[in-house]
Structures are given as structure tokens and as C-alpha cells.
């Protein structure tokens, strides 16, 4: 956290190196967040927009508000984008799902960003450890889908099982990760709040 604060002062002064490390820290998180709402290409544009608004307002944003500024700004842009899309048949459901998502994120974000900072480096390792605890078939299907981005139908072919079974494995894996990582989420949060 201290390190981050220091950089923010430099960014305010227009230091490009400091801004670059700031960009590197937040880009993956912001783009992953945008991808929950919209498709990749659009996500890219919106994330760029958010960084641009930050750059323009860098001197007026308080250091401790930066995370929430970035995330809220991005959420709003995503929601607006969805609202302005022209295909109406799925308009209402998409907007409502996006709004529900934002409400969920608002509930959990406090615990979340502390966690995100801590986990950035070891994220893959931590997930990998949890996946190892799964039954072999389930772990295999999940790894292919999750880490290697193989389409579920191809996973089914590769493993000689039905796509439906693949879906089952993935859901089982996600349910397990959710439980398994929950302790960790909680641990990290408690660790931080005692300081």
C-alpha cells in the first residue's frame, strides 16, 4: 500500500514511469472486470477510456479513492455501453444482470481489493493448488477450459465424454474453488484488518 501511495504522488507530478507501473498493476484487473460485462474488444476500449479519465483528473483524485474511482468509473461505462446497444430483444435482461452484478460488487468490493493486491503474484499458484485437490477427471476438464481456453466441445472430444459432463465437471470445480478460496479470502481480510 505504501509503495502505491508513493507512486501516486509521482503520477500527480506527471511522472510517466510511475504511471506505467500504475497501469501495469490495474490493467489486468480492470480488463477482467470489464469482460464480465461486455466482450473483449469493447472491454479494451472502455478500460482505455477509464485510464484516460484518470489521467485527466489525476491531480484532483485522492490517493485512497483511486481504486474505487477506477472500478466505479469502469462499471458505469460498461452499464452505459450495454444501455446504448441497439439490439433490444435482450436489452432488459442484460441491463438488469449488469445492475445486479454492480450491486454484488459493491457489497464485496471492500474485502476484494485488499485480496486482489495480495494475490496478484501468486494467483495462479493458489488456484492450481486448489485444482489439485479435485478428482482427476474433473481437474483435467477444468484445467483445459480454464487455463488453456479450450472450448468445452473440444474438451469433450479430447476426453471422450459428453459436453454435458464437461459442464458438470466445470461447475463442480468452480463450486469447490469457491469453498476452498473462501477461507483464503477471509484469512487475508482478517490479516489486514488487524493492522
Amino acid at each position: 500500500m505504501l509503495q502505491l501511495d508513493l507512486n501516486i504522488d509521482k503520477i500527480r507530478g506527471g511522472d510517466e514511469e510511475a504511471f506505467k507501473s500504475f497501469f501495469i498493476t490495474f490493467y489486468p484487473k480492470l480488463k477482467a472486470l470489464a469482460c464480465r460485462f461486455v466482450d473483449g474488444q469493447v472491454a479494451d476500449d472502455l478500460v482505455q477510456d477509464v485510464f484516460a479519465s484518470y489521467w485527466e483528473q489525476k491531480t484532483s483524485i485522492q490517493a485512497d479513492n483511486i481504486q474505487s474511482f477506477l472500478f466505479k468509473c469502469l462499471q458505469n461505462k460498461c452499464l452505459n455501453f450495454i444501455k446504448h446497444q441497439m439490439v433490444e430483444e435482450e436489452y432488459e435482461s442484460r441491463v438488469r444482470i449488469a445492475e445486479a452484478r454492480i450491486a454484488y460488487l459493491a457489497d464485496t468490493s471492500d474485502a476484494n481489493h485488499v485480496l486482489e493486491q495480495v494475490m496478484n503474484r501468486d494467483l495462479r499458484e493458489i488456484i492450481e493448488k486448489s485444482v489439485e485437490k479435485l478428482p482427476p477427471k474433473c481437474a483435467q476438464a477444468f484445467r483445459l477450459c480454464y487455463f488453456h481456453d479450450v472450448d468445452r466441445k473440444e474438451v469433450a472430444e479430447l476426453m471422450g465424454i459428453s459436453p454435458r459432463t464437461v459442464d458438470g465437471h466445470i461447475q463442480q470445480a468452480l463450486n469447490f474453488l469457491r469453498e476452498d478460496l473462501k477461507d483464503l479470502f477471509l484469512l487475508v481480510f482478517m490479516f489486514y484488518s488487524t493492522f
Binding site: I24, V42, A52, R96, Y146
Partner: protein, 339 residues
């Protein structure tokens, strides 16, 4: 908690953004019915999105995004620098004026060169504009367009930037190439007439009517030379493509306030109508949005006339709803009599 509505297949489809309209509605209802459902789904989504976060942590990917960002803000910063330079020059001039009271010769010797000041024109929806630049180049600007140009061009080149649509008649000057910078592409010319459309979120399109132009993508991966009646289309995903035998009159019909389209998708046509009449249009049918139409509206056509004419194709119908125009598929798909 999890009931009949949500199964593995639907969950995976939701996470991978491959839900049908019907399925999206199902998901929406399911999470709206119970907060625990919503929490469960978004927790799953959070774990799923860690995968994206890992992927986007890739160094090369971040580098690429960062370069894109820098090239985007550098134009703005440049403008700011000019401005501060301008003020420091003003101070300098003030001192010189005082000194010049004592020595007019000294004043004459030290007068600094005028800095390159940028002008910006923003054309709102529903409007058009024409501008003549310092070199005699004429530019027509379409609705919803931002155009930036210097009051005086530098010695070596003529640089301007465009977001939106413009028709350029560039004064010939082989010593000073004229360069139009847009978000996705750059166009370099010596002296020609061409139309350029670069609305954000749409394909970038350059149509040439006279002379020769060079079109290059901002990432420098694609570069082509256009000849008269050729058109370059660029998108980041599909790259650069070229079409020949283009009717340039259609591409620049907007400069006369007309709307003309040949084999264009309804969604593109509607975007142009939205800009021209400053209205909001929603196409309620996915298939209809990609159907192609050929049509031509006179300058005097009102929005009602435009919609009526589109309706006469018998492919679609429309209604005004909450300040928006909603277009949906025509129910009685009778055979076409005339268009």
C-alpha cells in the same frame, strides 16, 4: 437454493457469454428471484474472471495496451504543452515590450516565432459544418464529429485529426504531405479528394474520389495505397481490406445533406440516421440488424418520411416509444410490390 432453472450448461454459457436471448432472460429471472442466487452466480463469475485476470497479466498484452494508451493521450498532452508554451511566450513578449520602449531594434530582433496553436471543431448530432484550412484545403464535417487542426501548418507537414466523418478536398502541395490522424488509422495524401469515416466503435472507412492516398493502421501493421473509386475498410479485428468500383457519390452524399446507402446493413444505416436527425433508434431483432438495404433520401426528407420509406420495404415496421424509435420485423411478410 439452486433450483430447476439453473443447470451446469446454462451456467457455463453464462460465464462464456454464449447465452441465447431466452437463456439470458432465464438467468435474469433466476437471480432476481433470490439474492442468494445472485450471490452464488456472481461468486462463480468472480472465480471465472480470475482466469481473465491471469491472461491479461501477460506482459506483452499489457505493453500493447499501454502503447495504445500513450498514443491516445500524447496528442492531448502535446496540445497542453503548446498552451503552456504559449503563456511563457506571452510573458517573454511582455518583457520585450517593456524593453522595446528603450530599444525598438532589440524588440525586433528577439520577437519569438508564433507557436502552432490547435483549433478544435465539434459538430453535434443533427448538424454539419464546413471549414477551410490555412492552406486552402476544404473539409466538410458530418454530424457527431470532432476535428482538430492547427491555425498555421508547420514547415514540413500538414497534420490534422478526425473522430467521425469528413470529406476532404486537399490543396496540392508535394513538399508538405497532408496527414489525417484517426484513432485506428492514418491517411497520408499530397493533394486529393476523399471521404473518411472513423466513428469510434465502427469500422474505419476511406473512400477515394480523385488522386492517390496512403492508408496506414495506427499499429503500423497494415498499409495500402488507394486509387480513385477504391475504398479501404479497417477494423482492429479484421484488419485492412480494399474494395474496387465504389460509387463515391454515395459515400459523400451526406455533404449535401442526403442519405444514400447501397447494400448496407440496417444497423449501419440506423447509426447514420441517428446522427443526422439526433434520434435514438433501437433494432429489436438481431437478424434484421444485419439485413442489407439500398436507399436514398433527399436533403429535405424528415425523420418520419425516412422511417415510412424504410417501412415500405415491408421487411420492417417501427414505433415511437419513450423518445426512441423501435424497429422490429414486419409481421405480414407480404411479397414486395415496389420499393
Amino acid at each position: 437454493m439452486k433450483d430447476i432453472d439453473m443447470n451446469e450448461e446454462l451456467l457455463i454459457r453464462f460465464l462464456t457469454h454464449t447465452c441465447s436471448t431466452e437463456e439470458l432472460k432465464q438467468v435474469d429471472n433466476w437471480i432476481a428471484s433470490n439474492k442468494a442466487n445472485a450471490d452464488w452466480l456472481f461468486e462463480m463469475e468472480r472465480i471465472w474472471s480470475l482466469k481473465d485476470e491471469l491472461r491479461f497479466s501477460d506482459k506483452q498484452e499489457i505493453e500493447k495496451a499501454y502503447r495504445q494508451f500513450i498514443s491516445r493521450i500524447s496528442k492531448k498532452t502535446l496540445q497542453l504543452k503548446y498552451r503552456t508554451y504559449f503563456y511563457s511566450v506571452l510573458k517573454y513578449v511582455a518583457i520585450i515590450v517593456v524593453v522595446s520602449l528603450l530599444s525598438i531594434n532589440l524588440y525586433k530582433m528577439l520577437t519569438p516565432q508564433e507557436p502552432e496553436l490547435m483549433n478544435e471543431i465539434c459538430v453535434p448530432r443533427g448538424e454539419r459544418a464546413n471549414v477551410t484550412l490555412s492552406d486552402g484545403t476544404k473539409v466538410a464535417l458530418n454530424s457527431d464529429t470532432k476535428f482538430t487542426y492547427p491555425s498555421h501548418f508547420s514547415k514540413s507537414s500538414r497534420n490534422v485529426s478526425l473522430i467521425g466523418e469528413g470529406y476532404f478536398e486537399v490543396t496540392h502541395n508535394p513538399q508538405k504531405p497532408f496527414i489525417v490522424n484517426a484513432q485506428m488509422i492514418h491517411v497520408k495524401v499530397l493533394g486529393t479528394k476523399f471521404n473518411m469515416r472513423t466513428y469510434s466503435g465502427e469500422n474505419s472507412i476511406v473512400t477515394l474520389s480523385e488522386g492517390k492516398v496512403e492508408v496506414e493502421s495506427s499499429n503500423k501493421e497494415n498499409k495500402i495505397t488507394l486509387h480513385p473509386n477504391e475504398e479501404a475498410t479497417y477494423s482492429e479485428s479484421a484488419g485492412m481490406s480494399i474494395s474496387k468500383g465504389i460509387n463515391v457519390g454515395i459515400s459523400k452524399s451526406w455533404t449535401k445533406g442526403e442519405l444514400a446507402f447501397m447494400d448496407q446493413s440496417l444497423s449501419i444505416i440506423c447509426k447514420a440516421i441517428e446522427r443526422k436527425f439526433n434520434v435514438k433508434i433501437v433494432i429489436a431483432d438481431r437478424q434484421l440488424a444485419v439485413d442489407v438495404f439500398t436507399c436514398h433520401f433527399k436533403e429535405s426528407a424528415t425523420i418520419e418520411e425516412v422511417m415510412t420509406l424504410l417501412k415500405e420495404t415491408r421487411k420492417l415496421n417501427y414505433s415511437f416509444k419513450e423518445g426512441k424509435i423501435v424497429i422490429y420485423k414486419s409481421k405480414n411478410s407480404m411479397p414486395m410490390e415496389k420499393v
